[in-house]
């Protein structure tokens, strides 16, 4: 029985479709108090006083003065050895506020409407200080370089040097469910149960334990259904300390639900960067060297992601190409805007947008076809594995497997088959400003170092998996059930997956960076195989035959060639109960196994995006008419879910390329605080998207051969759409910036560059 590779319907669906999912705000507790955050209305200033409204009950307004002193939220991943302590965000602002939306106090009430009333009447006195919104004039929090090879000599001997300047706009994940948190306290012991911290619950539990000064075992974080993650949700934010801390202090359940206006200024922003990138080519269009100088706008503080977005920007910039020499420098600037973190394909959306524009401009200058220039410079299958003398996220960059040019060719053939080029031609004949953009990209996935999983078989034969992954909508329950079912040779219907529960799985790493299928799936695979082995061992005792004579099929362990001689997993599980005659004295009870999977390096999926756009030269409106993603995922556990990840990624990428931007005025006031100003793409803005999932290059570094699928739909969306707009308008230079809102497209048309 094989479950891997099947398009199984999702285990998540029946409950979610019936409205029976359990999202954080669906929980209420008797006697709970509601927390509401009072946020700074000013981008930068000295905090003079926070005044409780006269009518509000005592203790209903909590400020930094009421908290243990000096609390700051730590960085989750330190990279390049850079210490950011100085720039960490306090839980509540004490002396200074640095962005609009920074928490300065919280209000408590028995009812959320009342909490909001009180919060609105809290007076916050702030002496305004100068505001920095321009990235270049911010405070430099970090600066570092990555690269290898003799870049200067590569540029010195080049026949062609091409440079582009490119800005990527500030946008972010904006999951549909706002953040929420409920902490329920056992008044007797102070033990906490926390709902709503889904992403890296074990890490957050540990941070919280440290900040509260309690043992981590006093904190039980429960997995919940979650309305989308994409990087921002589930990181440790100020509220993640405040809610549990208040619950312990008040000995009552405390609940907080963010509203959308808060979310847009409080949750991590991402992406804002300014690049000056150059490429050196010889006379045949062979790449000799690549350089990039980047200004990264990180907003007001260093949050939990620290500087991993800047690091990944540089480390992934060379992408799938043969780049003999590379040098990247990045300056991480702090400004008076919402702090930043990762968002789906962090660093790669940005870098791919820039690099692929560089290729387009270079191809035109050298008179080489844009696809051909790429094909010439892609690393070949024979050149892999390919080590780049750089590290990122604490691991060396070793591109493991792939056939980049092969996938590019497949994508072009598929696009022709689907009529992309003929449609482009006919549009142009009819006088449309239409264009086709092609972008090739490298992704990364499967960040270790480890993941732990338990597989437990019950006496009914039901299999439970306690994984450290977390369900953010990606379908990981179904995927892990398929992995388990495959290893145990059982029907996936008997497998139940419980993700992200810190008591059941206290060592889980969470779901981020497209790692849960790769690292979590491999841990589950190992644990399931261990259970299978143990079942065979017990079955051999029960059936009194040698283990070698046994095989596992269709949920039973049976004697080869002897029909009728078999035991079920349920019977084996029963034989593992204490008191069973089959259990030896020194053996632990239960049919279960905990296994850990460790990886040395990440695995690198890759892909190609094609966009066909039609630009209305009067309004500047860009319509995406066709979109194709070709992506090699190594091995697809469930192809439907891989396609779903890619489809969703494209939609977010189209948003980032054309619509979504957090803009600020000169006083640092955010201009996008509702869905009227922050525009997510709707069904009407998106075309039917074509997907080609390839499995040509299984990952050598994990037993399943899988590579992550979470980010490949978004990575090159900015690049392909920018390329398509450039093509449509016949620009000689780069598009210059994303998002290409209608206003900016009109600007480009007027400039006529």
């Amino acid at each position: 029985m094989t479950s891997i590779g099947e398009r199984l319907p999702r285990k998540e669906d029946p409950r979610l479709l019936r409205g029976l999912g359990r999202f954080c705000d669906d929980q209420d507790r008797a006697g709970q108090v509601w927390m509401r955050v009072v946020r700074s209305p000013i981008a930068h200033g000295r905090l003079v006083e926070v005044r409780k409204p006269g009518s509000a009950p005592g203790g209903s307004v909590v400020t930094a003065r009421d908290l243990p002193p000096g609390l700051r939220i730590p960085v989750r991943l330190t990279v390049q050895g850079i210490d950011l302590t100085e720039y960490l965000q306090p839980v509540l602002a004490a002396d200074e506020v640095r962005y609009v939306g920074e928490p300065v106090a919280v209000v408590l009430a028995d009812d959320p409407y009342e909490a909001e009333d009180i919060a609105e009447r809290v007076e916050v006195d702030i002496d305004e200080l100068p505001v920095t919104v321009d990235t270049a004039s911010g405070t430099k929090a970090a600066e570092f370089e990555l690269g290898y090879g003799p870049v200067e000599s590569a540029f010195a001997q080049a026949a062609h040097v091409v440079t582009v300047e490119f800005d990527v706009g500030r946008h972010s994940a904006v999951p549909l469910e706002p953040r929420a948190l409920l902490a329920d306290v056992d008044p007797a012991t102070g033990a906490l149960r926390i709902f709503g911290m889904t992403k890296v619950p074990v890490f957050n539990r540990d941070v919280l334990a440290g900040m509260l000064g309690v043992d981590e075992n006093l904190i039980h974080v429960h997995a919940m259904d979650t309305g989308g993650g994409f990087g921002v949700r589930g990181e440790f934010y100020p509220e993640d300390f405040l809610v549990p801390w208040l619950a312990r202090k008040l000995r009552r359940p405390v609940k907080w639900v963010e509203d959308r206006a808060e979310h847009l200024v409080a949750a991590n922003h991402s992406r804002q960067q300014r690049h000056v990138a150059s490429a050196a080519f010889d006379e045949n269009g062979t790449l000799l060297g690549l350089k990039d100088d980047v200004l990264h706008d990180n907003g007001a503080y260093a949050r939990t992601h620290g500087i991993i977005v800047p690091e990944l920007t540089l480390a992934m910039l060379p992408g799938p190409y043969r780049v003999p020499a590379f040098h990247g420098r990045i300056q991480v600037m702090l400004t008076n805007k919402t702090p930043c973190g990762t968002y789906r394909a962090p660093g790669r959306f940005e870098g791919t947008s820039v690099r692929e524009q560089l290729f387009d401009v270079a191809a035109d200058r050298m008179g080489i076809d844009r696809v051909e220039l790429r094909r010439r410079n892609l690393l070949t299958a024979d050149e892999l594995p390919h080590t780049r003398a750089m590290s990122t996220l604490g691991t060396d960059v070793v591109l493991d497997s792939g056939d980049y040019a092969g996938l590019l060719d497949k994508a072009m053939v598929e696009a022709d088959r689907l009529g992309y080029r003929s449609q482009l031609e006919s549009l142009r004949e009819r006088g449309h400003s239409a264009g086709l953009g092609v972008a090739v990209f490298l992704e990364k996935s499967g960040l270790g170092p480890q993941e732990t999983a338990d597989v437990v078989v019950g006496t009914s034969g039901e299999v439970r998996v306690h994984s450290g992954g977390t369900s953010l909508g990606q379908g990981i329950e179904t995927v892990l059930a398929q992995v388990t079912a495959d290893a145990l040779a059982v029907d996936p219907a008997v497998v139940t997956v419980v993700n992200g529960d810190t008591v059941l799985q206290p060592f889980g790493g969470g779901s981020w960076a497209s790692r849960s299928t790769v690292v979590g799936g491999s841990a589950v695979h190992k644990a399931a195989l261990a259970v299978r082995e143990r079942a065979i061992q017990l079955a051999s005792r029960m059936l009194e035959v040698s283990e070698d004579d046994l095989e596992v099929a269709a949920g039973t362990i049976r004697v080869k060639g002897a029909p009728g001689m078999s035991v079920s997993y349920a019977e084996v599980a029963t034989a593992c109960r204490p008191g069973s005659p089959h259990l030896r004295n020194d053996e632990p009870a239960g049919l279960s196994a905990r296994r850990r999977f460790e990886v040395e390096h990440m695995t690198y999926p890759y892909g190609v995006h094609l966009a066909l756009v039609d630009v209305d030269t009067g309004t500047g409106h860009v319509k995406v008419l066709r979109y194709l993603v070709a992506y090699d995922v190594g091995r697809a556990i469930n192809p439907t879910l891989v396609e779903g990840q890619l489809l969703g990624g494209v939609a977010q990428g189209v948003g980032g390329a054309l619509l979504e931007e957090f803009r600020y005025d000169d006083a640092g006031q955010p201009q996008a605080v509702t869905f009227m100003d922050y525009q997510l793409p709707t069904a009407a803005e998106l075309p039917h998207i074509d997907i080609l999932v390839a499995q040509d290059a299984p990952a050598p570094g994990n037993p399943l051969g899988v590579k992550g699928a979470g980010e490949g739909g978004v990575t090159a969306a900015g690049a392909s759409i920018a390329g398509a707009i450039r093509d449509a308008l016949g620009l000689t230079g780069p598009v210059g910036r994303l998002p290409m809102t209608a206003e900016r497209v009109r600007g480009l048309i007027e400039e006529g560059t």
Binding site: R18, D28, Y113, G473, T682, A684
Partner: protein, 159 residues
Amino acid sequence: MKDIHLIALAVNGNEHEIVVESRRTLADVLRHDLGYTGTHVGCEHGICGACTVLLDGEPVRSCLVFGVQADGCEVRTVEGLADGEELSDLQKAFSRCHGLQCGFCTPGFLMLSEAYLSEQDTVPDEAEVREVLAANLCRCTGYQGIVEAVRQVAEERMG
């Protein structure tokens, strides 16, 4: 003194009487007072459509309707679509077409689509379905599976 009212409403055929403040939204009444948590709140300003329910058969954004306005009305929520464990044709199509990922927008899309489909007597083309579904936001699926599900059910229902 709070401004409170006694209202009566039927949700998925169940009669409820409840005391609410006049400013309390229908979404909060359904979710927190009556326990129909399937209806979700994504923006509270009428854009995302996650909170869509049917009020006397019409799709409304329950974050923009006050509970008192539903006095005497019939409300249908996502919990009312399935027949016990048996999913409706539309729910099945959503699952079959991978029209949901996190599932947070799903109740709103189901209710919107249900209202739309009930008014159709021909099979709509993709562009029209996209225009209609553009009333609601989904951040996960890229809408493709949702569009496909609605089209399939339209075809099935038209026979």
